[in-house]
Symmetry: D3
Subunit: 317 residues, 6 copies
Amino acid sequence: MSQSFQPIDASAVPRFAGLPTFMRLPHVTDPAEVDIALFGVPWDAGTTNRAGARHGPREIRNQSSFLRAVHHVSRIAPYELCRVADLGDAPVNPFDLQDSLAKITGFVESVVAAGGLPLAAGGDHLCSLPILRAVARDRPVGLVHFDAHSDTNDSYFGDNRYTHGTPFRRAVEEGLVDPKRTIQIGIRGSIYGAEDMAFAEGSGMRVVYIEEYFMLGTEKVVEEIRRVAGDGPTYVSFDVDGLDPAFAPGTGTPEIGGYGTHEAQVMLRGLQGLDLVGGDVVEVAPPFDPSGNTALVGATLMFEILCVLADTFARRQ
Amino acid sequence: MSQSFQPIDASAVPRFAGLPTFMRLPHVTDPAEVDIALFGVPWDAGTTNRAGARHGPREIRNQSSFLRAVHHVSRIAPYELCRVADLGDAPVNPFDLQDSLAKITGFVESVVAAGGLPLAAGGDHLCSLPILRAVARDRPVGLVHFDAHSDTNDSYFGDNRYTHGTPFRRAVEEGLVDPKRTIQIGIRGSIYGAEDMAFAEGSGMRVVYIEEYFMLGTEKVVEEIRRVAGDGPTYVSFDVDGLDPAFAPGTGTPEIGGYGTHEAQVMLRGLQGLDLVGGDVVEVAPPFDPSGNTALVGATLMFEILCVLADTFARRQ
Amino acid sequence: MSQSFQPIDASAVPRFAGLPTFMRLPHVTDPAEVDIALFGVPWDAGTTNRAGARHGPREIRNQSSFLRAVHHVSRIAPYELCRVADLGDAPVNPFDLQDSLAKITGFVESVVAAGGLPLAAGGDHLCSLPILRAVARDRPVGLVHFDAHSDTNDSYFGDNRYTHGTPFRRAVEEGLVDPKRTIQIGIRGSIYGAEDMAFAEGSGMRVVYIEEYFMLGTEKVVEEIRRVAGDGPTYVSFDVDGLDPAFAPGTGTPEIGGYGTHEAQVMLRGLQGLDLVGGDVVEVAPPFDPSGNTALVGATLMFEILCVLADTFARRQ
Amino acid sequence: MSQSFQPIDASAVPRFAGLPTFMRLPHVTDPAEVDIALFGVPWDAGTTNRAGARHGPREIRNQSSFLRAVHHVSRIAPYELCRVADLGDAPVNPFDLQDSLAKITGFVESVVAAGGLPLAAGGDHLCSLPILRAVARDRPVGLVHFDAHSDTNDSYFGDNRYTHGTPFRRAVEEGLVDPKRTIQIGIRGSIYGAEDMAFAEGSGMRVVYIEEYFMLGTEKVVEEIRRVAGDGPTYVSFDVDGLDPAFAPGTGTPEIGGYGTHEAQVMLRGLQGLDLVGGDVVEVAPPFDPSGNTALVGATLMFEILCVLADTFARRQ
Amino acid sequence: MSQSFQPIDASAVPRFAGLPTFMRLPHVTDPAEVDIALFGVPWDAGTTNRAGARHGPREIRNQSSFLRAVHHVSRIAPYELCRVADLGDAPVNPFDLQDSLAKITGFVESVVAAGGLPLAAGGDHLCSLPILRAVARDRPVGLVHFDAHSDTNDSYFGDNRYTHGTPFRRAVEEGLVDPKRTIQIGIRGSIYGAEDMAFAEGSGMRVVYIEEYFMLGTEKVVEEIRRVAGDGPTYVSFDVDGLDPAFAPGTGTPEIGGYGTHEAQVMLRGLQGLDLVGGDVVEVAPPFDPSGNTALVGATLMFEILCVLADTFARRQ
Amino acid sequence: MSQSFQPIDASAVPRFAGLPTFMRLPHVTDPAEVDIALFGVPWDAGTTNRAGARHGPREIRNQSSFLRAVHHVSRIAPYELCRVADLGDAPVNPFDLQDSLAKITGFVESVVAAGGLPLAAGGDHLCSLPILRAVARDRPVGLVHFDAHSDTNDSYFGDNRYTHGTPFRRAVEEGLVDPKRTIQIGIRGSIYGAEDMAFAEGSGMRVVYIEEYFMLGTEKVVEEIRRVAGDGPTYVSFDVDGLDPAFAPGTGTPEIGGYGTHEAQVMLRGLQGLDLVGGDVVEVAPPFDPSGNTALVGATLMFEILCVLADTFARRQ
């Protein structure tokens, strides 16, 4: 892999210096040059409550300067295994939701067409839908979904069917996600009514409510993730509100009582060996994140996903 | 005016106690009971950059607890002159811009139909358009417009013609605002190009750029406001980014180099005697306002406008 | 329960819209109309160090807009079981501690007299005393007390016996609380001296120090809570400083090394089936809470208590 | 003046190092050793709205490390002219207002008895009353009072006559302040009613409302201050809410539309030559001051007052 | 100028999207491609008190997304007049001050050698020295210096002669700056001693203390700037602490009582027509800037300087 | 121990009052008067990324006012066992790293020479090196090191061998620390390369990576600490970034996925009985700590270490 991109050397150039690209990698504009495409989706038009995730990609990039080159547990060295770069932000249209969905899908299609794996920094959770439309174009994929919310509602504010509370219902309806190969981890919080989870559970998704999560323990949940996802192509989506807001306060719909970052890291590392086709980290909302820690969490979880994606990529070669 | 509403007595109930209504006035739901209707428009779907003004009404209400009952300069006692109350928030639909415009207009129409004067807390500046559709239904009104931006652009992100950068162009096109009786005060900041101000100036608006403002001095600007507005019905719209961001940092599109709060107060007091038909204070964005001062500014400027509206109302009786 | 109050529908009116009442419930002023009375006590005159809890009720109300209608674990739907509303704030006098105590007791007595169960948002922990004077007027009650501090000191700054460090000593002395049916969970932090816990332990309170808490595990602590409280009438008081300050930094007397929110939720859910007579969540101090998370924690824990109170109420009918 | 105290040398010990005493001066406990006593009054029990000024002395001390030794305009070198030191904080009792008043007076009396001039960092504005009881024990003094509020109300929350809204009415009633030699500068903000200023104006105080202030200009206001204060003994009291909250957001009762810091400095420098007997800077409330700038303002204004006090002291020798 | 670079079009790509380069311009690495080189100096090793300016370039870039393409007063369109781009950050060595100075000078020399004009975002004020070493290599330049401090001290903490308090003394000693063609505007704040300004005044610099600034008025100060700078090559250096901290709190050494942003803009615009050779905006310290406004001020003042530099460049062709 | 120093009595003087010394103890300047010397090292010149730890000692002192006199678990009463006081800050030179190292060592030597045990509040982690040079002058000591990072790198930015990433490599090389008696707890985070840990592991240090930490559980890690440290003289160094940033966001190099404060407290209590020779708590960076919680954590962990040091001291007598 002689042409692989390398992060700026932090022992030569201080971490606070230079343009804040993801992981201090080069900014590349041609998808054909990369195997794993890091990109932002600066868009929160799907938000039903507090906006701000539109600023997520910039601040995640900023905090990602803290990351180094090699995973300290798995020893995966992603920049040795494949070509990873910052592809910039997907195009969006703040005033036209459907146009934005189309533009994001188009952007990701260019990555997929070039043989690359997409790894996005949201944006709100509606971002996952247009990405899935690109990566699951040819067949449904499994879904490993970390979140406090199922995001399988039907509509909001009348008949608005495309919000950050509905992406995975749409994805199932559109045949992008196989609900039988879908697992949701960390679901919790007061609900509108008894039927809230009817679609998720009715369609066959494996829902690990936070109570079951704590009862099983992280290790067993990892086993369950691997069992559900199986051998097929699988997408991973991490909503930072799956974490307890002590760890990730800067998000639009915080729910107390979640897991911590160590647990999240263990679960993401547990994806190694699955047939991963892409991923995202969403709902980092910097205006509600006075310490900047939520964006650091977002950046670090992106690195965790990047490592298992790189491992997937390398094994495929 | 025996039935007028009174704020909670702060020498009996501390200012930090109780539900935060505007000015600690009663929450009233029937427009027929009020002469001046204070209400919020929790909506920022017109925002082209940083959102957050959707949270403006709540935080302005919260800070409005600082306000007392009588204006210390004009000695106007609005709650003695007419019935003023908090009508709650106008209905909005975060996912449907046109539906929101219609709903806001409907809400304000109910106020106008009952003979009341509307005074809104935004929300982003697109809010002014649906309010004007209600108050200027029968004839164009004059406009006293405090802002760093002219908000007379044509469209954004393709052909999106309804944003917080376009309301007053739409209002002129729709015959709601008489550009000859319109004055904009504080316009400044880098521009897209030489033609940015073509519509405003071409349509006959009187544009007081910040440089002219400082050259003339506040007193002469007040004279100019009164000259332009004249005797006809007039609406007042205050975008807090007209102020320097030192005074109002919590806003979506700050531009350095504006006027201060004292100057703003003097200009608003200078409206006394005009034939006012309503007003708004917009673009308070609490997520960018760590000290809360911007919302306090918003609340106090609402009180300034309230006093001149009450005086208008009383003189009409 | 045809007349029960319902929260504003968040799929019709966005969560950031409208007046921030507790849980977006109606504001009701007649205690006779409610079965469970949510109210604030905007008062921190009992504070010995950092004030700010006076602002707690407003910010808890604000953040409580995040809450939905049904408990996702117990499936308790409080608004179906009984009439729940926001009764506003108890009257207080910032300059007269004894007068405040009397006024708060009077307010709660009106709730109790009407057959309602009080659920308060403090205010500092001294608030619990006047509430207990109302709910325990006829017989002592058991107490489930979550806190980092025992709050059973005798006096401060000379002979001041009514502070947020003394309420439960006073409550025992006044016969309001049965120390044998009292359990304190999470006690920790450096102490003034060996005798600090003499009253609590000498009077027969069951003190679960944080070390024992972690040793036993949450499940066993729940059993111990139920054992101590028994079948008699029981009050629940949650001081947010029982939580680790990572979860609740916005409080007056933070002590590191506490439990998390999930654990707190599990313990509160464990109260289901007890004979509950009321409760409070206290010591949320918004000026020390830059992210707003502490108020969200306070609001969510109020919802947890509300659910078990509603279940108690329904079982009694 | 061989024994005078000197600040820590900032070119040897960095400003962020060391215990934060006022102006980095020695902490001295014997009033007999100092000519000008800097001290804190960590007390806000007189506050009717937002507390926090109790934390003022610590944060003013912290920010006062920015100050150097010589005034750059008047060239007054206070530490060359007299012995200036940090006497620590006056004793207070958070639970007993009258006891606190007595303790503060006692503390200041020890300074006065030793021939020293007191210069206090509040604390809320009620602090001025017990200080005046010490410095004006023998005869009424003139008062130069910078503030947005007259602080001459009669009572709050029933018959509570000692609050931060009443000190100067009490001071006149007690014969401590000569209203004919009193000037208030910057008064503004909505009022409770037409009679709010009756006491101030009726007693003969010269009230420079903010409108008159801006009309006259700072220079003429200085002349007016000197005319009113005259030759007699005079006390200076600076409430930071006299400043516009853009300059001093961290205060309990902000009122928009005030003067700036440069103007405040010019006015304080204008006191040189008066027969000053002491002063205070009050109402710095750090919990509402995210940038710390308000405390820096407080510290710098203390230095301005210190210089004119030192000049007074030196001229008397 | 067919090859000139253009900012990203904000009506197509939202301002919060994309990598945050200065003014949303392309990132270019070859100095030969640009006429005006925008770059950062992420370095605060010269700071004697609060560090943080090392983070200035990133946050100024972030906030510079607010800027548009054309100056609204002078109508200068810099991107039409010459090639402007973001050259990234100058190399620095946080652990070796002299090495950093050499590296920064080398970086700027490459710009100058290619015929470009440098415009830097600091970093602390010591940054100006290595830049001057490059732009004034062949002959001394005049200096227009906005600041609260003269920065002409000799040494700190022993014999450390290279700090942010000494750059212009060094620059004069090294023959880089002609003190007779140097003007400092806004000098203020307590001083170490009477001799603090001896070098500045003794060397012939024109020092406009803040008091004289307010007395003369901005217009006359502009005349004085032009008179002092004259026709020779001139460098402009803007320390944001020249502004009042109400306008720019996020800086290392704030001094209350400065000018505002409008005044700063007027003065910078007044430089049009001078023979400018480069400039900088320094001492933006984001960790002390909770609202982000200081970085916005820094970005906007950079745009002001950019416009007069572009005008200079165009006139030279 | 009749002459021991006592903290200010918080039931007489409120915690927010008075000069903020460590634990509200007297400020003492003669090392001969103390058995355990609390002191600050206001210095972060070893920082490779975000500075700010220079402000740590002040803010830790400020927050340490929360601490009381007796440990609630071990019942150690340090102020009864020995003479503990605040010795102020070690001298530092922000512009000369080697001079600072020498000065800090000199300061600590004076403590050690007087028979005292040093307990420092940093400052960045490079502080530990000069302290070790004093306490380990005569023989190497064991090291119990809590941290996310091993801090055994060789150099940064060229050949800079003294940074906060290198102190323990230098300490081993200088014979100050016995790597065989060294244990590092909590190591984690992405790494530069496979060889990052070569020195630590190659020299014989016991590295408890965070993964092993969570697998073993705190109790077993305590056993391992005691086994490794053994009977010899041992130093304890606590970098707050060993904690998860949810608990300690205000630090220069946060790494998600760490332990919590309760676990840290249990581990520090587990040191009781070791032959302790001193300790430090480092890397508290207040500019990145909006809630102040990190400094409270720092202060409380200092108290934990103080208790085991006092116990060590008492047992030696």
